[in-house]
């Protein structure tokens, strides 16, 4: 599978989804007006990956900001990962948040309570 690599913009995150390493990363700001348009290819790509995933998939979410319409799309991404996990593959989500950013930590905990995939909350200290 071809990896998805998208450079970040002020309103959309950097994406690196590499099927050969099983490492997926979403990083930066996700605040577009039309988030469905941005996330649709990622969700479709995960649908393909889901067919033959690696034994272990690591997902790094390192977001500085995200808007509420992205929050639904990110949930769609997690739902695909949940399906991979449910099919007896190892999936781990690392949710990074900056020191003191309780809102971002809480956002991670929201997903953790909805999605049945192991989450690790990791504080970033500058």
């Amino acid at each position: 599978m071809e990896p998805i690599i998208i450079e970040g913009t002020p309103k959309t995150p950097t994406i690196r989804f590499d099927a050969s390493e099983g490492i997926f990363e979403i990083k930066g700001r996700s605040i577009p007006e039309n988030s469905v348009e941005f996330y649709k290819p990622l969700v479709e790509w995960l649908d393909n990956y889901k067919e033959a995933p690696l034994d272990k998939t690591v997902v790094n979410i390192r977001l500085e900001y995200f808007n509420t319409s992205s929050s639904k799309c990110i949930l769609d991404v997690f739902k695909k990962l949940e399906a991979i996990h449910k099919a007896k593959n190892d999936v781990e989500v690392n949710w990074f948040y900056e020191e003191d950013d309780e809102d971002m930590l809480e956002a991670g905990e929201d997903y953790e309570s909805i999605i049945r995939v192991p989450f690790k909350m990791i504080e970033i200290n500058d």
């Binding site: 309103k11 007006e33 509420t68 929050s71 971002m104 909805i114």
Partner: protein, 184 residues
């Protein structure tokens, strides 16, 4: 009928202005506002937590306008597709974000009920409501997730203050006055 929208808007604003705008709310404008306000918050050495909260709330309030405003009455001076007003002001205890837009009479009740429901809820209930909507509601045709107001209430920890003033038979004018405290 009708009244001066801008005077009505300014009657509700307080503090030192960082940004004020009246007109069409498009994507480019939203970028410009976010950049300007973020730069100002950094220059003012605001604590990152406050800065992020203001930024988040600003994104949601502007994108609420972008996705949901009703077009202004036909006899109104500005016929932009997404006409709205907003201001970002600094006050002693934090920041005030004020938005204003026309709402068609048949949408007034729904919006008020939505806000009142949020305002009746405790912080814990708002958190649960957020998760429920996140998990159960699809993104609407307009592109909104139905989460914007809930998120604003959750992040600020304050009630959503608003006014809804009848403009003519078909329209009301809605102002949302958001307060982001420095403490919370």
């Amino acid at each position: 009928m009708g009244f001066n929208i801008e005077n009505h808007f300014f009657d509700q604003s307080e503090g030192k202005s960082i940004f004020y705008y009246k007109g069409n709310i498009d994507s480019e404008l939203i970028n410009q506002v976010l950049d300007t306000v973020e730069d100002q918050l950094i220059r003012d050495n605001e604590h990152p937590r406050v800065r992020k909260r203001v930024y988040n709330v600003l994104v949601e309030s502007l994108q609420n306008l972008y996705h949901h405003v009703d077009m202004a009455p036909e006899d109104f001076e500005d016929q932009s597709v997404k006409f709205g007003l907003f201001s970002v002001n600094k006050v002693d205890e934090g920041y005030k974000i004020l938005t204003g837009n026309f709402v068609r009479s048949d949408n007034v009740k729904r919006l008020e009920e939505r806000i009142n429901r949020i305002n009746r809820s405790s912080h814990e209930e708002i958190k649960e409501l957020y998760k429920f909507i996140l998990n159960h509601q699809r993104i609407s045709a307009k592109g909104g997730g139905g989460l914007g107001l809930v998120d604003i209430a959750r992040k600020t920890g304050n009630k959503l203050e608003y006014t809804m003033k009848k403009y003519d038979d078909d329209f009301s004018f809605f102002c949302l006055n958001i307060f982001v405290n420095r403490k919370n």
